[in-house]
Amino acid sequence: MTPDLAIRTTGLRKAYGSKVALQELTLSVPRGEVFGFLGPNGAGKTTAVKLLTGLARPTAGSGWLLDRPLGDRETRRRLGYLPELFRFHEWLSAAELLELHGELCGMSRQERRKRIPEALELVGLADRAKDRVGTFSKGMQQRLGLAQALINRPELVILDEPTSALDPIGRRDVRVLIQRLKSEGVTVFLNSHLLSEIELVCDRVAIVDRGRVVQEGRLEELLTLSHELDIRTNGLPEAVLAGLSRHWKVHEHDGQHIVLGVPRPDDAAEVTRFLVAHGVDLLELRPRRANLEDLFLQWIGGEDAASLDVHPSDAARSVA
């Protein structure tokens, strides 16, 4: 295995009886990066995370975490995990809960004594150390879950929907925390269906749908895979519109305004020539950079996904 990868999986598959939860997961996560794992509900994200953390065993395929095969016990010393469905012993205080998790990570008493206040501080719960977990709101419990995931100063942190219970301030705090982890060289695997969250913090993303990765790569590269031109004219005759749609994809149009999907940004020149040659007065032509949401909808959007000129599996391989 390449030493600079924190996670690598090949053909990971999980079926529960006849129900396939994860078709085929082939993935590479470089060390030190924030990796976004994105997909609609029921795409197989949580199943994938459970396979990575060893909570479930794959039906087929294999994978490595921090250079060791999936399920290896010693690797978990260097792993932090916040489950999507988090629940903690409600009768323990926040500090006691971290004490328990630190102890299970094999941390010494001195290490724990030093680390627990730090971890509580990191997630903004320093003043609630002695309060019982049962008295915490769902959001505070999620923060505590983050502290739990970071208690052992892990090299790899897997966060499954870490902001699902948080308010906007909490979400921002988590973003800042993830950026801080990245600056410390920690690899973060972020499982989320929140596009903005992923777009703001991730270096690399994989988009999963119906149990398989439909796109994977560096975020900025993926964002340049799709281009649109926003064009305003003084009027578009039907014949010109028909001509445009023969060469490019018309995303939207209303008489004077049209949005064209083009394979390359350079196509702007060709579109301009076409319009001028057909006697259309061009008032404005603006390249529009796609955001993650546009891409997501394109890739996940059923038939639309098939019409993309990027072959999903090829793209995944070329950027892996």
């Binding site: 953390t53 060893g54 909570l55 978990r76 916040l82």
Partner: protein
């Protein structure tokens, strides 16, 4: 600290925090108080000291008999939620991704629960023996052996609970061992009836039940060490005193049966751990 011990402590702390310990302690004291009060009434209305002694001894055996039932109930409930339920509710997800074995979780819970059961049996036995002994001077031949067999009975139920808890929810995994316990009890009665009526197949059926569910046979074994020496001697001399008695036994439990029960505890625990270890959480 080994992770098993971490989970043992967690089980003990949970029992303490959830007030289970305080409650069990208080109610056991009340129970012992009731036995003591009953014996004091027997003494008060005594016409014949020998009669008082015999009635007090009988009351003591009955107190232990009900105690054995309470040990069973405690064994079912002291282990808390089933491991399957805890895993599915998310409670164990962050825990099972720590550098531990799933065995540690189950073994720690078993050990903590076993310690609580042992404490209960010790307190209960000492209390009841003292309540009778201090008033009428009757001390059973070996309360220690009786207590040890009661504890073993509790451990059989506890291990069944751990086994069922590895694949059933909390409620079902609590009910199942109780029903199995009922089977064992009924099997014991069938065996007694068979031996009284000299129907060999009934007695054999009872023995087989005791092998499948060795709870009743353990209680009978315990009862033997609680009965007055004279009853045992009479039985050995051929008097047909207690044969067919559905509650007590006048013959000691066979050594191999005790070993079988101990092996049973280990086996049920091992199967439960194995199921849980292979389970997708």
């Amino acid at each position: 600290m080994p992770p098993v011990w971490t989970f043992t402590r967690l089980t003990l702390r949970e029992a303490w925090r959830s007030k289970l310990l305080a409650l069990a302690f208080g109610l056991t004291l009340l129970y012992i108080g009731l036995v003591a009060w009953g014996v004091s009434k027997l003494v008060e209305h005594s016409r014949n000291p020998l009669n008082t002694l015999a009635s007090s001894a009988a009351l003591e055996v009955l107190a232990f008999f009900l105690g054995s039932f309470m040990v069973t109930l405690l064994a079912v409930f002291v282990a808390g939620h089933s491991t399957r339920q805890e895993a599915e509710s998310g409670l164990l997800q962050a825990i099972l991704t720590k550098p531990i074995r799933r065995f540690d979780v189950v073994a720690g819970r078993w050990l903590g629960s076993a310690m609580l059961l042992a404490a209960y049996v010790a307190l209960f036995s000492a209390g009841v023996v003292a309540a009778v002994g201090l008033q009428v001077g009757y001390y059973p031949p070996s309360a220690t052996l009786a207590g040890a067999l009661l504890l073993l009975e509790g451990l059989v139920v506890l291990s069944l609970r751990i086994l069922f808890g590895s694949f059933l929810g909390t409620l079902a995994s609590g009910i199942a061992p109780l029903m199995v316990y009922g089977l064992g009890w009924m099997g014991g009665m069938v065996e007694q009836a068979g031996s009284v009526l000299h129907i060999a197949s009934m007695a054999t059926g009872g023995v087989i039940t005791s092998l499948v569910v060795p709870t009743d046979v353990l209680w009978r074994g315990a009862s033997y060490y609680l009965l007055p020496e004279v009853a045992r001697l009479a039985s050995e001399a051929g008097a047909d005193l207690g044969n067919g008695n559905p509650v007590v036994s006048l013959t000691p439990i066979a050594g191999p049966m005790v070993l079988w029960a101990a092996a049973y505890v280990v086996a049920m625990f091992a199967i439960g751990t194995r199921i849980f270890s292979r389970r997708d959480v």
